[in-house]
Symmetry: C2
């Protein structure tokens, strides 16, 4: 039924589902040392970036994901000043982070420079903060970077990676979480995308255990829609180095000097609600 | 890429996206006086019912939709005893409604008896409450039924219909809402599925206006994931005949004498959080 030339399709083989976007043209495709990146022009979702056959971002819906990777953590931390983003090469998360005037520096460490260069070219809206003097863009191994980071230096680490296969696999390991724990200062937070609550329940459990095993004192899941990812429903895990995650700077959200499209104080609170089938596990 | 024989695909043409489930076999297909109903055996979602080419329910994920169509409204009403379900032929919503011991009668009015007969055959889990003495299954025009209902007789009307095209179109009209308003007693509630918050924002607005125009004093949206519906993100509208919707019987949820898989008190509260882009509209 779907004309192969007119649709990009991602098959989620393990879960027997597939998601397709109608495309006008493939604008670009290249094989980097790490992965294959393709850019499409879609009929209704604007530009679409695909990495190794998986949809990454589209113009239409990336705001939900990027806001939820940044703001819940930033408004939970009492005073986030130093932020590291591991992965995140499309720069959308960096842009959200730098909306916070209190952030003094944000380092983005993505292994593949081509993701960023293609984002600059095809997703200019996502890369508007790249020239911010507080931003530092590194193209390097995020795992090694965190391992080498001075202890206690960071307030927040955001792991904005692809799925836990291929180059991103090590970002879901206990050893990596232990390095994150060490690199964070008092009250430090780690947030990481944790796939679909419907499709990847085991991953959610394994991540939680690995983060707790690495010393994180509290670990909470947050949930949000993600129309172009498997099952349309996504999650992230927020972990605090040395204390409970209870409450957030709610009054600051109301007075935020920037706009959001999905996130607000109500959404912040709602995102932490745990569906009954996950609570029971 | 998708073998036509191995996948069922629903194209959301207006939004340039498509969703597919891998199937082992088509178990049944028939054309009724109202629509075409097909049943598939999928590889990972159990059985799947499709009406006029649109996915309706699968074994794997229907719990989210059916629970969210029933429990938020039932736990918002102070004492729901008489419930009408318009549409809902697969009987999944009826089953959730009759989990509430306080409900004295639940009438389901679906225009197409074949939906229910096929649900009984292929989705026996959904039809377990059909023999409940409090259940009444009518196969009739729901619009006419509500129009003829004695004034003030119902505590809750649940409109669990297909999309606002074809047989269900009249269920999204001001005239229908006025009949609902009249049929509801003091504190009466109306809840209706209202499509995707990402794809159908205009419908959400039109429904809200039409419900308010029909006399409903308060109208609130609730949001939940819906992995097999367009965009994977769904909504319902809850309207109160004569007062504000503020609060719910939270203590009763904790003590509920039945189990749920998605719904709980936290999810209830969270479902009403309004994304920033909808709040602004």
């Amino acid at each position: 039924m779907l004309e192969p030339n007119a649709w990009f399709t991602e098959i989620h083989s393990r879960d027997g589902s597939a998601f397709s976007l109608r495309v006008r043209a493939k604008l670009h495709e290249e094989r980097t040392p790490y992965q294959t990146i393709a850019i499409y022009d879609t009929t209704d979702f604007g530009r679409l970036m695909v990495i190794d056959g998986c949809t990454m971002v589209s113009d239409r819906e990336n705001f939900i994901y990027h806001e939820m990777m940044a703001h819940p953590a930033l408004f939970t931390h009492a005073e986030p000043r130093r932020v590291a983003i591991i992965g995140g090469g499309d720069c959308g998360t960096l842009r959200e982070v730098l909306k916070h005037p209190g952030v003094a520096e944000a380092v983005q460490i993505d292994i593949d420079e081509r993701v960023t260069r293609l984002a600059e070219r095809y997703f200019p809206d996502l890369t508007t903060a790249n020239e911010d003097s507080r931003a530092q863009l590194l193209f390097d191994d995020g795992i090694a970077w965190v391992r080498a980071a001075p202890p206690g230096e960071l307030d927040l680490i955001i792991v904005d990676s692809t799925d836990p296969v291929g180059p991103a696999e090590g970002l879901f390991s206990a050893a990596f979480y232990a390095d994150c724990w060490r690199a964070l200062g008092p009250g430090g937070l780690l947030v990481q995308q944790s796939e679909s609550p419907l499709y990847h329940q085991r991953l959610l459990e394994e991540m939680r255990k690995a983060m707790q095993g690495a010393g994180f004192l509290d670990v909470k899941s947050l949930f949000f829609p993600q129309p172009i990812y498997p099952s349309g429903w996504w999650s992230a895990m927020l972990a605090c180095k040395d204390g409970p995650i209870d409450g957030f700077r709610e009054e600051t959200i109301g007075a935020r000097p920037f706009s959001t499209r999905y996130y607000n104080a109500e959404i912040h609170r709602a995102a932490f609600a745990i569906p009954e089938f996950l609570r029971r596990r």
